[in-house]
């Protein structure tokens, strides 16, 4: 595949990047913003995600009906997502709609935030929060993140609580927008059959007049300690367990090894957790994954099991995490590398997959990495890299939170949880999508 990388910066600081592939049948274009729940004050928690929804409600020029109609007139596959650290807006279109898609994204990113729309959309956000309350995995994810990160900004919920969203005012949102959505804190990324000079021209025309704003982020060092917490919800049938422990950051070279190590330990098939817990049906799911953040990082573990086998399952998991430090084999490292290599190749063949990869990478590191670089870095990883990584990040300290019917010393969750519970987002993909793909 003849992939070529291009970069250009507008005078106002907006980075424009593209990975062009003349063999593609479509283009994917996205605007990535370095902002998310961690950049919110506690009083406006949930504003990043709510604002992401408001972007689709129109600019000075367009109403919300125009916004949706124009995307659909292009036959675009489009969506947006918010995480703790990044908000992204993107569309996948046929090449003939490239100019229009870029123009439309530019309008999207200069929202009018009209009060009537704000009030209606608030109801949708409250429904989204309620929908996550009917999903124990999602509920647990944000509770566990909050517990693990304590007073660090990464503890903040992505959706906010029903209470914080209810209280949020339009002016607070517009102030947040002005503060965070500066061109210096954004990247416009495209992949597929892109004409780069034309792409710059359109971007200059519609984004060139945006005022430069710097949007610094605070980077306090998280303070972690061993924490165990049990939340009792008698309505549930299964026990849900989630844990976090420190790992390398999104900037750390060791992040590639961390990804391989995660697959060795907790891929959904063929991993150590699989053989120790799922193959024998002690747990229905037992995953271990790597979740890099901006200048810090986490591994997470996630377990679903019978309530009365919880202690046994957690013990096995912790034992496996100790064991792998001593008996890692070259074969299992090779297998994990091969599986990851396949997923990199498969993702690379679809413009949308590559666009999300290069856009995210740029927001975190202002760096482009080609598929070949990623594959070469992956293939150079050895069992020794993983062993050294485990000395640096020895799965200690660890936060473990349980949610389920198991009675005990846990904290009882009130039956109606909507007003008191923290809302939750996805456990595996830490981003809340605007529009679930059905």
């Amino acid at each position: 595949m003849p992939l070529t990388f291009h970069h250009h910066q507008l005078d106002n600081g907006l980075d424009i990047i593209a990975e062009t592939n003349p063999d593609s049948h479509s283009i994917a274009v996205g605007m990535f913003v370095g902002t998310g729940a961690r950049d919110e004050e506690v009083t406006i928690n949930g504003v990043s995600h709510f604002l992401e929804h408001m972007m689709f409600k129109g600019s000075e020029k367009y109403t919300w009906e125009d916004v949706n109609r124009i995307f659909d007139e292009m036959g675009a596959r489009y969506n947006a997502s918010t995480s703790q650290e990044m908000t992204a807006y993107y569309a996948n279109v046929l090449p003939e709609f490239t100019d229009r898609a870029v123009e439309h994204l530019a309008h999207l990113l200069r929202p009018a935030i009209r009060l009537g729309d704000f009030t209606t959309e608030k109801k949708v956000i409250l429904e989204e929060i309620a929908s996550y309350l009917d999903d124990p995995g999602h509920r647990l994810y944000e509770i566990a993140m909050a517990e693990h990160f304590g007073t660090h900004p990464l503890s903040q919920s992505i959706l906010g609580s029903a209470e914080s969203v209810q209280k949020l005012e339009r002016d607070q949102m517009t102030q947040y927008f002005t503060r965070r959505y500066g061109p210096g804190n954004m990247v416009l990324a495209a992949t597929g059959r892109v004409d780069f000079p034309q792409f710059i021209k359109i971007a200059q025309r519609f984004c060139g007049s945006w005022r430069r704003v710097d949007a610094p982020r605070h980077h306090p060092q998280p303070v972690h300690q061993n924490r165990r917490r049990t939340l009792v919800d008698p309505k549930l049938n299964r026990q849900y367990i989630m844990g976090f422990t420190p790992g390398p950051s999104a900037q750390d070279e060791r992040r590639f090894a961390a990804r391989v190590l995660s697959d060795v330990i907790g891929d959904s098939e063929g991993s150590r957790f699989y053989w120790a817990l799922v193959d024998n049906a002690i747990a229905e799911e037992a995953d271990f994954g790597f979740y890099p953040h901006d200048r810090c990082g986490s591994y997470y573990l996630s377990l679903i099991c019978d309530p009365d086998r919880t202690d046994e399952a957690i013990d096995i998991m912790l034992r496996e995490l100790e064991k792998v430090k001593h008996d890692l084999t070259p074969d299992e490292v090779e297998r994990a590398k091969n599986k990851i290599a396949s997923s990199i190749v498969l993702q690379g063949e679809v413009p949308l997959g590559r666009m999300r990869a290069i856009g995210g990478q740029w927001i975190y590191n202002k760096e482009y990495r080609s598929l070949e670089q990623d594959l070469a870095t992956l293939m150079a990883i050895t069992p020794q890299s993983l062993q050294s990584l485990m000395r640096d990040f020895p799965f200690d300290p660890m936060t473990i939170v349980e949610l389920g019917p198991r009675p005990g010393k846990g904290i009882l969750i009130p039956t109606s949880t909507a007003d008191t519970m923290k809302s939750a987002a996805r456990a595996t993909a830490p981003a809340a999508d605007l529009w679930p793909i059905t």
Binding site: D72, E127, A130, S342
Partner: protein, 419 residues
């Protein structure tokens, strides 16, 4: 057939399908075996799901661990699951790795060990999955809807009933494997930068002597249909709605698909606009075409706070009826470009294509080319859509709700679609 598509049926009834996708490094394989949940014995529901796990617990000369390690060493992204008609195995990776895995997939479907401890574990995992669904009302409502809407056994939960699973034995699994993992009716599809002739030679050598078996005649029982409420202490009320429509092979299939795009395609779709954007009633709302062989259907979902559930259902139904009054030219244009673009973009993924060509062959006995699909969409006129909507009124509806309280059915007072 254009030269990038291939179709070949072996004397034993196994069909090989291929789509050549130049420029791809990956290939994706879909293997469908006619051993879905529909053929589970009465009183032994869940067998197909248990088997879809159990066959991977050792096959040919490899035990469970060796088998998994080997497939992992090839870097295969894979899955196995039981659907209604078929048990499905998928694998995607670099092209040569997928070809290399073929003999092992032969072992998995023809020579699985089906060990007793593996059986116990596979059954336990299925039971645990069933319990988990009780914690997720959004999933539960769609499972209950299928049970009420489709005739037995097509609507049954592919994971089975807990009582059946408790009573399930390895003997039943072995006998079902022998009866239903057979060549005729099986489909092996591959998409990627492949050489179909060599794939075909390899597959013929491996699968040529896979025996065929007599087709099973299904006994069916009518669907319960109607309105059904499942009480659940959930935050939201989850609404599932289904009504019959055309089969995929019907000449008006593209007309129907485009009409459904107007109802629920994109964010300018009518359901999204009226239920979510204007009224803020929901976060999730959708309706879409679902096809089982012999039953073209529309299924829809909305999830909303309990005190707003009645308004949500009423608005949803209003929009379904309003569609019968016709669509505008602008709406049809958006629907067309939306469906066409989705088709072209799907053509960029080997995994999507191998799944699509296998599905096409099962439904139609042949592969639809991407150009044929585009033409099918282009040829539809506004008159056709509006005439179709005028003569095909929606209903009768099957409604399932999961939540604290049942809802009133808006159609009982004003019309009687259930008659």
């Amino acid at each position: 057939m254009p030269e990038r598509y291939y179709q070949y049926t072996l004397p034993n009834g196994l069909t090989l399908l291929g789509e050549k996708m130049p420029g791809m490094q990956s290939a994706a394989m879909t293997l469908l075996v006619p051993a879905g949940a529909a053929v589970d014995l009465q009183g032994a529901s869940g067998t197909a799901t248990v088997l879809s796990d159990l066959v991977l617990r050792g096959a040919g000369e490899r035990d469970s661990r060796q088998l998994t390690d080997y497939l992992d060493s090839l870097g295969l992204q894979r899955s196995s699951s039981a659907g209604v008609h078929h048990t499905r195995f998928t694998a995607a990776a670099l092209t040569e790795r997928v070809i290399e895995a073929l003999p092992t997939y032969l072992d998995i479907i023809r020579h699985p060990h089906l060990p007793e401890p593996g059986f116990q574990a596979a059954r336990d995992l299925t039971l645990q999955g069933l319990e988990g669904i009780e914690d997720e009302p959004r999933q539960k409502v769609l499972i209950k809807l299928r049970e009420r809407y489709f005739p037995w056994p097509y609507g049954r939960n592919t994971m089975g009933d807990p009582e059946d699973l408790e009573a399930l034995t390895l003997r039943i699994c072995k006998s079902q494997h022998q009866k239903h993992y057979h060549a005729n009716g099986s489909i092996l599809a591959i998409a990627g930068n492949i050489d179909f002739d060599s794939f075909r030679r390899e597959a013929e050598t491996l699968f040529g002597d896979w025996p065929a078996a007599a087709e099973q005649l299904d006994t069916t029982a009518p669907a319960p249909l109607g309105v059904h409420h499942v009480e659940h202490p959930s935050e939201q009320t989850h609404i599932g709605l289904a009504w019959p429509s055309l089969e995929e092979i019907h000449p008006d299939y593209y007309v129907l698909r485009l009409a459904m795009e107007v109802l629920s395609g994109g964010m300018s779709g009518r359901l999204f606009t009226e239920v979510r954007e204007k009224r803020g009633l929901v976060y999730n709302v959708w309706a879409g075409y679902t096809s089982l062989k012999g039953f073209g259907s529309i299924m829809g979902y909305a999830g909303t706070s309990n005190d707003r559930a009645q308004a949500t259902l009423d608005t949803f139904i209003d929009e379904v009826y309003r569609l019968g009054e016709g669509v505008t030219a602008a709406e049809l244009d958006r629907a067309k470009i939306g469906l066409k673009a989705a088709t072209i973009m799907q053509g960029e993924s080997t995994s999507s294509r191998s799944g699509s060509i296998a599905h096409d062959f099962f439904m139609r006995g042949r592969i639809r080319t991407l150009d044929e699909i585009k033409k099918g969409i282009d040829d539809v006129t506004l008159d056709q859509v509006n005439q179709f909507l005028k003569t095909n009124k929606p209903g009768p509806f099957t409604l399932v709700t999961v939540g604290p309280k049942p809802l009133k059915t808006p159609w009982s007072a004003t019309c009687s679609p259930c008659t």
